[in-house]
């Protein structure tokens, strides 16, 4: 349902904009375009037909997985997206993995040694991680590791099958740039949640039962603290679906978001439409998955979901 609304909005928005897409496309040289060429492009894009026909037609094709053809080089949009989407997803997954494996233990440790040296240091790192925008982190990483130390090249992409070593070397920097901000979020949420959960009555009950300290930590404190942490992480991952734009641009990483920026600057409507649609579908699916995961982590939610 939501996806249909999203698709409709994207479709309508593009057609409601003042100005003729075809004219905009052809007038890039600055000179007024030749009316004949405009007419030709109109026919090619199907813009000469009534909006309702275009709409039905677009949806019929959409159901078959056909997102139309790029205005720039006439290649099928869907193919290009399928090629680039896994790269962006891999980037996000790598960043999430790094953020989770560092942020979770760091948050736990900081909460347990609250006010200690580690807590203060990590809190400062996290504050910095939230304050420095991702493209600044990326640029600085390039400056230090690529230009300064020559450890890796400044950016690019090599398929995994072609050269696994290079593949991960090139993945590392953009993933790190994203992971810093994500680490900060996970760290702060873990720390707050652990502090909050430790003061709950059921943790006191566990202590009254004589349960061992580390079991209280894992089975009671962490288990419950995980619920808000997972939620926040998932929300951030959703945001990242569109937010890798900057990092892909900085590292010249041929992902989906980079394609979107190119399409935006080239006014390639079918491409923009297709990418926005795919990302939105992913975003909505991710949110559904989060709800499911949430139910898995919290039996109280599971029940209300089942009742609904």
């Amino acid at each position: 349902m939501l996806i249909w609304v999203v698709a409709s909005i994207v479709f309508l928005a593009i057609r409601c904009v003042p100005g003729d897409p075809a004219e905009l496309l052809l007038s890039q040289g600055g000179a007024a375009p030749d009316p004949a060429t405009v007419q030709q492009l109109h026919e090619q894009l199907g813009l000469d037909r009534p909006i309702s026909v275009q709409y039905v037609d677009a949806f019929r094709r959409l159901l078959h997985g056909d997102l139309g053809h790029s205005v720039q080089d006439d290649s099928p949009v869907a193919t290009e997206i399928w090629q680039r989407l896994p790269r962006t997803l891999e980037l996000i997954a790598a960043a999430a993995l790094v953020a989770l494996t560092t942020g979770l233990p760091a948050g736990l440790l900081a909460a347990l040694r609250r006010g200690g040296l580690f807590d203060r240091t990590a809190s400062w790192v996290a504050a910095a991680g939230l304050a420095v925008p991702v493209f600044v982190v990326g640029t600085i990483l390039v400056l230090v590791f690529a230009q300064g130390l020559h450890w890796t090249s400044a950016g690019g992409y090599v398929p995994l099958a072609q050269a696994p070593g290079r593949h991960f070397a090139l993945l590392a920097m953009p993933a790190m740039a994203i992971a810093l901000g994500l680490f900060a979020t996970v760290f702060r949420m873990t720390r707050t949640a652990v502090l909050d959960v430790s003061m709950r009555d059921y943790v006191r009950t566990a202590r009254a039962k004589g349960v061992r300290h580390h079991r209280i930590l894992t089975h009671h404190v962490l288990r419950n603290a995980l619920i808000p942490v997972v939620t926040v992480l998932a929300l951030n991952l959703g945001t990242l679906l569109g937010g890798t734009v900057l990092v892909e641009y900085v590292f010249n990483y041929p992902g989906l978001s980079g394609m979107l920026v190119d399409a935006v600057s080239a006014r390639d409507y079918p491409e923009v439409q297709g990418i926005v649609l795919v990302i939105s579908i992913l975003f909505v699916t991710l949110n559904l998955l989060v709800d499911l995961l949430y139910g898995l982590l919290d039996p109280r939610i599971r029940q209300t979901v089942r009742q609904a």
Binding site: L2, V6, G210, L240, R267
Partner: protein, 615 residues
């Protein structure tokens, strides 16, 4: 709302003022090029040097701040006004408005924020003026949600109803009563949006989709400096630094505002158990199961240390119940927690000793104490819903208590879980063991708590108001259950309660606590029928009588722990007070063998007709 931490407020205000003052600072023209001085280093005229077109870096930096901040502030303000209006309408104007406001935000939320911004920029073209509505749209759902949630929580409250009864118009109600109540969260949201605005503006400008060159913007400056970063890394450094520090300050402001709005986030102190500080127990432990001698608990507060429990001594023998009675705040629950070694982190033991089965538990290692807890001594808490872990099944929570103290096979552990559920009278234990706490009724939950408590056949059970949350029938059942378990297993019970009818039903001995001290102690029969302390007498009078006559409540309130009277703690509320009472703190006097009181006038008052039978 508290006052927020002033430092981030001041820093952000300073940055904002600097940005506003830029046109009056007499800076070089930020867009004036001078190709001859491309990338010139810092000089007297150009403090931070010149960029790749010879423009003054300092001037561009400050003008850039102006652009960034005004875009962020304008978009946040726009989203705030629109979002507040929509949230108020959605929360207050009925179903249609509610549906429209919330559904439309769901649609906006289908797009990741940066993507949404990109999409709109595609349609309307880049530039600072497009940027403001774009960012406002991105921030809108946050405001709508915060305001909507705020309205929902406020609108049902009595004073809104009161206003409605008084005939106030809807708009007036919304603006006058609801807005001030949700102002805090809105303010927090506003600061979050402004900070996010700076980030998004710079990001979009960096991509060339935000502020257009040659206008100065931090994002643009970073993008431009990237191409020359090997020759002139400083050109990259300044805008990066300015941007990051601004965001850092704004984030700190958000945190400070949130702390100020949310009272739960006050920082606390780390606790310490300091057994070495205690006076070593001089008395030899006598035979009883539980023996508490001179227990004193201290809590540090901003107004200085307080002692919510002072010099408490009591004992429990096997197969008997001692009821610890007092109003809330008398220190009875803290006493129970101290015996278990479970004092909240702010509290510490300042003196005294606690023996359980002859072991001095206050001086035990945490590991040894753990082996006693839940095994030889157990505690049942007041609120079973919050005391059970919501994410684990009831059966596994009982099994955890058993397995913490003995290694059993899965099968044996399950048998024991079912047996203990059966013992507390839970029907269909097989099914109940697989339930989650929220799926049980209040009575069932409390039985589960008791099942956890007795799972290992403890010798001492501390029950902290276990029946307060329950209705009368269930309460009677739970009391019977505890009495039965006591008899069957020779368990000693310390029963903490404020209810005298409950005491009459269950207790063998009674200790009455007032303002952190025990004021009277004796057998239940003695204390309930021949009270020797005016406070006990007053408590008995305030208990609901069986004949239905209205109880007399005790005038006045319990003194605050840091404003204790010098003499008798009950003196301000006592009808029998004399000058002598306020001179010094009365000692615990033995009236008859086994019956003590902390009243200096007990002998004179004993003849007075102050008794009243209690259920």
């Amino acid at each position: 709302m508290k006052r927020p931490n002033p430092i981030p407020v001041a820093v952000v205000a300073a940055i904002a003022m600097l940005a506003m003052a830029v046109p009056f600072l007499g800076l070089a023209n930020p867009t004036a090029m001078s190709i001859a001085h491309r990338m010139a280093p810092a000089s007297a005229a150009h403090w931070l040097g010149q960029d790749e077109y010879g423009r003054d870096v300092l001037s561009r930096l400050l003008w850039g701040a102006r652009v960034s901040l005004s875009v962020a502030a304008a978009s946040a303000a726009m989203a705030c006004l629109l979002g507040t209006a929509m949230g108020l309408a959605g929360g207050y104007l009925g179903r249609v408005a509610e549906l429209l406001a919330l559904r439309s935000m769901d649609v906006v939320l289908c797009f990741p924020p940066l993507l949404l911004a990109l999409l709109v920029v595609t349609l309307f073209g880049p530039g600072a003026l497009t940027l403001i509505p774009v960012l406002a749209l991105v921030f809108l759902p946050g405001f709508v949600r915060v305001v909507y949630a705020g309205v929902l929580s406020v609108r049902s409250q009595e004073y809104v109803d009161a206003m409605r009864v008084l005939g106030a118009g809807r708009l007036r109600i919304m603006l006058r009563t609801i807005l001030p109540n949700i102002a805090g969260p809105i303010l927090v949201q506003l600061s979050l949006a402004a900070a996010a605005g700076v980030v998004l503006e710079s990001g979009l400008s960096f991509l060339g989709l935000g502020v257009l060159p040659p206008a100065p913007s931090w994002g643009l400056m970073i993008a431009a400096a990237r191409s020359t970063m090997t020759q002139a890394p400083l050109l990259l450094l300044w805008p990066c630094l300015a941007l990051s520090l601004t965001i850092l300050a704004m984030n700190a402001l958000c945190d400070a505002l949130r702390d100020a709005v949310d009272p739960h986030r006050a920082p606390g102190r780390r606790p310490r158990r300091l057994p070495s500080l205690l006076t070593p127990g001089l008395l030899m432990a006598p035979a009883p199961l539980l023996d508490v001698q001179g227990l004193t608990i201290e809590i540090d507060t901003p107004a200085g240390p307080i002692q919510p429990v002072r010099d408490v001594s009591l004992g429990v023998v096997p197969g008997e119940t001692l009821a610890l009675v007092g109003e809330s705040g008398s220190g009875k629950s803290l006493t129970g927690l101290a015996i278990m070694g479970l004092l909240p982190s702010v509290a510490r033991i300042a003196g005294g000793a606690v023996w359980v089965e002859g072991r001095d538990v206050l001086r035990l290692e945490e590991g040894e104490l753990r082996r006693l807890r839940g095994n030889r001594m157990a505690m049942v808490f007041q609120d079973p819903l919050s005391s059970l872990n919501p994410v684990h099944r009831v059966g596994s929570q009982i099994a955890e208590a058993i397995r913490a103290h003995r290694s059993l096979s899965d099968h044996a552990a399950r048998d024991r879980v079912l047996a203990s559920l059966r013992r507390v009278g839970i029907p269909d234990p097989l099914r109940r063991a697989r339930s989650f706490p929220h799926e049980l009724s209040g009575g069932m939950r409390q039985r589960t708590m008791i099942a956890i408590g007795i799972a290992n056949d403890p010798k001492l059970l501390i029950a902290d108001e276990p029946t307060t949350a329950l209705d009368v029938t269930i309460q009677a059942q739970v009391l019977d259950l505890i009495a039965r378990l006591k008899q069957e297993h020779g368990m000693g019970v310390l029963f903490i309660t404020h209810s005298l009818p409950v005491v009459a039903e269950i207790a063998d001995h009674v200790a009455v606590m007032y303002a952190g001290e025990i004021v009277e102690q004796g057998t239940a029969a003695e204390v309930l029928t021949h009270p020797l302390h005016p406070y006990t007498t007053a408590l008995l009078r305030s208990a609901p009588a069986e004949d239905g006559s209205l109880p007399d409540s005790i005038p006045g309130t319990v003194p605050l722990p840091h404003q204790l009277p010098t003499g008798c703690a009950f003196a301000p509320r006592c009808q029998h007070r004399t000058a002598a009472c306020e001179v010094a703190r009365p000692a615990l006097l033995t009236a008859h063998p086994g019956h003590t009181t902390r009243c200096i006038r007990w002998r004179e008052l004993a003849g007075a007709p102050t008794r009243q039978a209690v259920a």
